[in-house]
């Protein structure tokens, strides 16, 4: 293959970032009736200058970048004054992803991103669609043909969208950006007559009505927003497998994404059930896979199933693992629940109760109501959450997998390939030692790298680690029930076992 150029249409895509500043300047011009102030002119001028510089350098790069696929490597070359050639051996390619933003798609372009085992990604931005797909197929040695569909988008899953973070977080982000836009246009939202009247009429006077209404409004808007985000991210979602090499996720409405993972780099799967989603009977799935890029990229690429019915999530996890993730787990000692209760009392109940009491001492006994109300409500919540957190805790050896479950706000069930465990870490603190507890962390070269079993019985931790991944710590084990106190000449007394 001879040296090829990137698509010339890319120049148009590169120019589209000009639209938002141009749009906001236009809006400002409309809002102020054509009388733009100095700040606005400076903005327009500097944007224009930056645009010229960036476009020129972008065009230069576009004209000078070449790529080619040889028998055993993908090469790129930038020839501008000097010349820079980069060669990626095909055997070193870990993934080849295609993405296309809305503008890319309008112009029939796709961005090819090639991840390697060593240095950063090699990005070809952008290629004509057919060329990109052909190249990806050859790079990843996989065909778009005979692929088994493991899971595909079902519109009924949209009901789980409002049960994600985006309900409240999304509204916050939108309101923040709206304020910033208004500020850039020189408008102060509380000066708008309608807003001001609503605020004076209903704001302070009727708090009992205003607060629930605001919460309801945020929930409704957030629900709609979350559904939109879900649709944009997961439209036409398909998880496919071509035996035995690769898994592939394709998804996206305006921006399409296609992520491939090699099965030989798969080290397990994770079933994620955040509190709200769990209450609604849903779950999502992440793959525990290596070679997905840096931590942030890996987090985004490892998602193989959006929030969906729990049964679907279990089925997808089963397909990834070969066995079902739903196995009986060993519970953790009751002391683990006491630790969680104590934490809640110490960090949620105590500080605000004290704060209310201080306020009562300073401004009058009215604040005492706040103190007892907070104390009662947060104590009840702590009791419930601690119980749930303790019930969530569990670990087990299930065939080829090590199972770990923990968390209450986000309950995660992880199944790790036992043969993929690289190292063990046993950790504790004076408090956990007194409770007879310790945490065990399994290290794998995939996903989050460290997977922790929090607060298991200290006496069982070392033996369990040796059973789960035999050989790693065998030679440092000795019989005895006392938890190791490394370097300490006086052995720690055997921890009490309340359970």
């Amino acid at each position: 293959m001879t040296w090829q150029r990137l698509s010339a249409r890319t120049a148009v895509v590169r120019a589209t970032w000009l639209l938002p500043p141009l749009g906001s300047a236009l809006l400002a011009a409309l809002a102020s009736g054509g009388n733009l102030d100095a700040r606005c002119w400076i903005l327009v001028g500097s944007t224009g200058l930056t645009f010229a510089v960036i476009t020129l350098s972008g065009l230069l790069r576009l004209r000078t970048t070449r790529y080619r696929l040889t028998a055993d490597a993908l090469e790129t070359r930038v020839r501008l004054l000097g010349s820079r050639t980069r060669t990626v051996p095909l055997t070193r390619i870990r993934y080849a992803d295609l993405t296309a933003g809305p503008v890319h798609r309008l112009l029939g372009l796709e961005v090819l991103r090639v991840g390697t085992a060593g240095a950063g990604d090699l990005v070809l931005d952008a290629l004509p669609r057919e060329e990109a797909r052909r190249l990806r197929e050859r790079l990843a040695a996989q065909s778009d043909g005979d692929r088994t569909v493991l899971s595909a988008m079902n519109l009924r899953w949209l009901r789980y969208a409002p049960l994600t973070f985006w309900v409240f977080g999304g509204v916050g982000i939108v309101v923040g950006s709206a304020f910033r836009l208004l500020d850039q246009l020189g408008l102060e939202p509380w000066r708008i007559p309608v807003v001001a009247r609503v605020f004076t009429d209903y704001g302070p006077g009727a708090l009992w009505l205003a607060i629930p209404l605001t919460v309801l409004g945020v929930a409704v808007i957030g629900g709609i927003g979350a559904t939109a985000v879900y649709l944009e991210n997961w439209w036409r979602f398909r998880l496919t497998r071509s035996d035995p090499e690769t898994l592939r996720v394709t998804r996206g409405l305006f921006t399409t994404r296609s992520v491939s993972m090699e099965r030989r780099l798969l080290r397990g799967a994770e079933l994620a059930e955040p509190l709200l989603l769990r209450a609604g009977g849903g779950a999502s799935v992440r793959a525990v896979a290596g070679g997905l890029g840096d931590a942030e990229e890996a987090r985004a690429r490892s998602r193989v199933l959006p929030p969906a019915p729990r049964a679907e999530a279990v089925a997808v996890a089963t397909a990834l693992l070969g066995t079902s993730p739903e196995v009986a787990l060993l519970p953790h000692p009751r002391a683990a629940r006491r630790r969680r209760t104590t934490r809640g009392l110490l960090w949620a109940v105590l500080p605000f109760t004290v704060a209310f009491l201080v306020l009562a001492a300073l401004f009058g006994p009215g604040w005492l109501h706040g103190a007892w109300a907070w104390c009662a409500a947060s104590s009840a919540a702590t009791w419930w959450l601690a119980r749930d957190a303790h019930r969530s805790l569990g670990h087990a050896i299930a065939g080829p997998h090590l199972m770990i479950r923990s968390g209450t706000f986000s309950r995660d069930t992880v199944a790790l390939d036992r043969s993929g465990i690289l190292a063990w870490t046993l950790s504790d603190s004076p408090f956990s030692r007194r409770a007879g507890l310790a945490s065990l962390t399994a290290a794998v070269a995939a996903g989050r790298h460290g997977y922790r079993i929090p607060d298991m019985a200290a006496d069982e931790a070392a033996g369990f680690a040796d059973d789960a991944a035999p050989g790693i710590l065998r030679e440092f084990l000795v019989p005895g029930v006392t938890f190791a106190t490394s370097g300490n000449p006086t052995p720690h007394p055997a921890p009490l076992h309340p359970s």
């Binding site: 780099l265 290596g290 690289l422 190292a423 063990w424 870490t425 046993l426 950790s427 504790d428 603190s429 004076p430 962390t441 399994a442 290290a443 794998v444 070269a445 995939a446 790298h449 460290g450 997977y451 006496d459 069982e460 070392a462 033996g463 040796d466 050989g471 790693i472 710590l473 030679e475 440092f476 084990l477 000795v478 019989p479 005895g480 029930v481 006392t482 938890f483 190791a484 106190t485 490394s486 370097g487 300490n488």
Partner: protein, 169 residues
């Protein structure tokens, strides 16, 4: 099933490490805290003598006592905990002072070995050895080694890694 426990690693940190950790505590936390307390009290004595009766106990509790406790306790506890051992197949290290960690990683997984001598460490003839692997949760650091020990450990880990020809991932 007889319960099993991890025995502590065989070798303790170098005794000079205690001094190193003390200096570290002084530089990082205790020194700045004590200086801040001193500055506050001197300024208050010079310009606001009326504030001393409540400022003195407050700075003592918030700044002076924690600084002294950290300075005295941290190096001792660390010295009790820190230990290491290198067997034919694995490296085993214990570290920490409040939160303790015992980590065991097989030598067959080693990717790189770094020996680090910081400016303070060098003054005491100490060094740390870090062994990295394909998983960040499997990287092992042994701190507070004598310089000679560190070199020997690095050589031995490096030799073990070279014997292993397979994919360390």
């Amino acid at each position: 099933m007889t319960p099993l426990r991890l025995r502590p690693p065989r070798h303790k940190a170098d005794p000079r490490a205690r001094t190193w950790w003390t200096v570290q505590a002084l530089v990082v936390f205790s020194g700045p805290s004590l200086l801040t307390a001193l500055a506050l009290l001197v300024l208050s004595a010079l310009f606001f003598p009326g504030a001393l009766p409540w400022l003195a106990p407050l700075t003592t509790v918030v700044l002076v006592l924690p600084a002294l406790a950290y300075l005295l306790a941290m190096p001792r506890l660390r010295y009790r905990v820190h230990a290491w051992e290198l067997s034919t197949g694995a490296v085993y290290s214990a570290s920490g002072w409040f939160w303790r960690e015992q980590r065991i990683a097989p030598l067959s997984r080693v990717q790189t070995v770094d020996t680090v001598r910081g400016p303070i460490q060098r003054a005491f003839g100490l060094a740390s050895v870090t062994m990295t692997t394909a998983s960040t949760a499997a990287n092992v650091t042994i701190a507070g080694l004598s310089s000679a020990d560190a070199d020997e450990i690095a050589t031995r880990i490096g030799a073990a890694a070279r014997l292993e020809t397979g994919d360390a991932a």
